[in-house]
């Protein structure tokens, strides 16, 4: 695809995190931030994230809401062998397809397990919706899967990361979002008006202002982040923003 065609094509995604343990606070999610970075790097726009409990109806509702709206949906969690792992069956129901033990998944498990250890629970990890492609990983034998535009991945970060790398290779990606970060050096309230004026001039640049507390001293600092898929616009908007900040600083110095 030409760079221009890529710019015009918006590839979007949502993440669906499935698991009571995240909602109870017992497990702190490490996947959302990782996938968000990954999407930005490959040129897919992450537009929404949901976290839902291990309840079939909740998973089905969320999968259907997200898959009809975005190019891709990435789910994490709930594909192990225990009774609370209901993601595969729930996704099959959401997609309206049947699900059964998949021989390809059985073969994968048999590379690490003896056949006599392949009990009912472990066979649960081989339940794959009809028509899905497997997503393998180098860490554990049990696969995730891709059905339609839904990628079903493990919740354990190391396994999820391996699955993500493998499946993203098979997906369409768009123009990469590029960004510039400026240290404002001023309170937000001092530059908010000027920043809004720059923002209005560039429809293809998204500009945000982010205060953060510097725990190693210095109190609050503000960063301005400019993001665009168009390098020329990004450079122009960044220069305008810097000029606006410089003028404010100079006015302060003279006050």
């Amino acid at each position: 695809m030409s760079e221009q065609a890529k710019l015009e094509k918006n590839i979007t995604a949502a993440i669906l995190v499935i698991g009571d343990e995240i909602l109870s606070g017992r497990t702190k999610d490490q996947n959302i931030g990782f996938i968000a970075d990954y999407m930005t790097n490959v040129g897919i726009d992450l537009k929404e994230v949901r976290i839902v409990p291990d309840i079939e109806e909740e998973i089905i509702t969320a999968v259907n809401a997200l898959r009809h709206r975005y190019t891709y949906v990435f789910t994490t969690g709930g594909i192990g062998p225990t009774h609370d792992d209901i993601t595969a069956d729930s996704v099959a129901k959401a997609m309206g397809v049947s699900i059964d033990v998949d021989e390809r998944a059985v073969e994968l498990l048999l590379t690490r397990l003896k056949r006599e250890d392949l009990n009912e629970a472990r066979l649960r990890m081989c339940r794959i919706p009809k028509g899905a492609d497997l997503i393998t990983n180098q860490i554990s034998a049990a696969p995730g899967f891709k059905i339609g535009n839904v990628m079903v991945m493990a919740g354990v970060p190391r396994i999820m990361q391996a699955m993500l790398a493998n499946v993203v290779e098979t997906l369409e990606t768009g123009a990469k979002m590029i960004s510039e970060t400026l240290e404002a050096g001023l309170p937000e309230g001092a530059y908010a008006k000027g920043l809004e004026e720059v923002d209005k001039q560039y429809s293809d640049v998204s500009i945000g202002s982010y205060p953060h507390f510097n725990t190693s001293g210095g109190g609050f600092k503000n960063q301005i982040v400019l993001r665009s898929k168009n390098l020329a616009s990004l450079k122009a908007a960044t220069a305008d923003t810097q000029a606006m900040l410089d003028a404010l600083q100079a006015a302060r110095g003279n006050a």
Copy 2:
């Protein structure tokens, strides 16, 4: 409220994280895990989380979906002075109320700012929907607010945490969820069937099995977490689970 009445009353909540910077991966969310722990500790069941971009329509849709479904909604992010801070106006629209500069908020800002520095951008932080109560915090002058069952808080973790502590004091809370954690010492596939049998016996205990990778050696380990608001049920289910694991271990030892 009696302990029995508390047990029967389910207080639920959702979190709505608002911000492009989380979806782009630039900022890693630190608020979801903190609020999740906080809710568990005070006896509120966190049932859903959504992350949406700084787009008015997205915020309105999410606020309305969540506020009609759960006892409380906690939002984080988007209440600063810059053009991308659109949470207060979006929440006002979702609730169908007007919004304007609020004199109580102006008074708060004037405790830290001179009146001549109270420019248009800073007054933006004083825009509070009609009928809302302010949520103050000890870190910054700008307040959050509570309108109906929606609590609007800052995105900066230190400020959010101070607001959360202040507002939760005014909310109704339920029975505290209590939990027990067992080290399985066995592969998930070995105890999944036994665990499902215990789970079926206790309708008021939620049982999950969580593999995690021990980076300091030992590879994968599995923890079984039992959660309930009923201490007697929790103790009985925990004892049954431990007995089930012990029997499996003994059988392994004899094999």
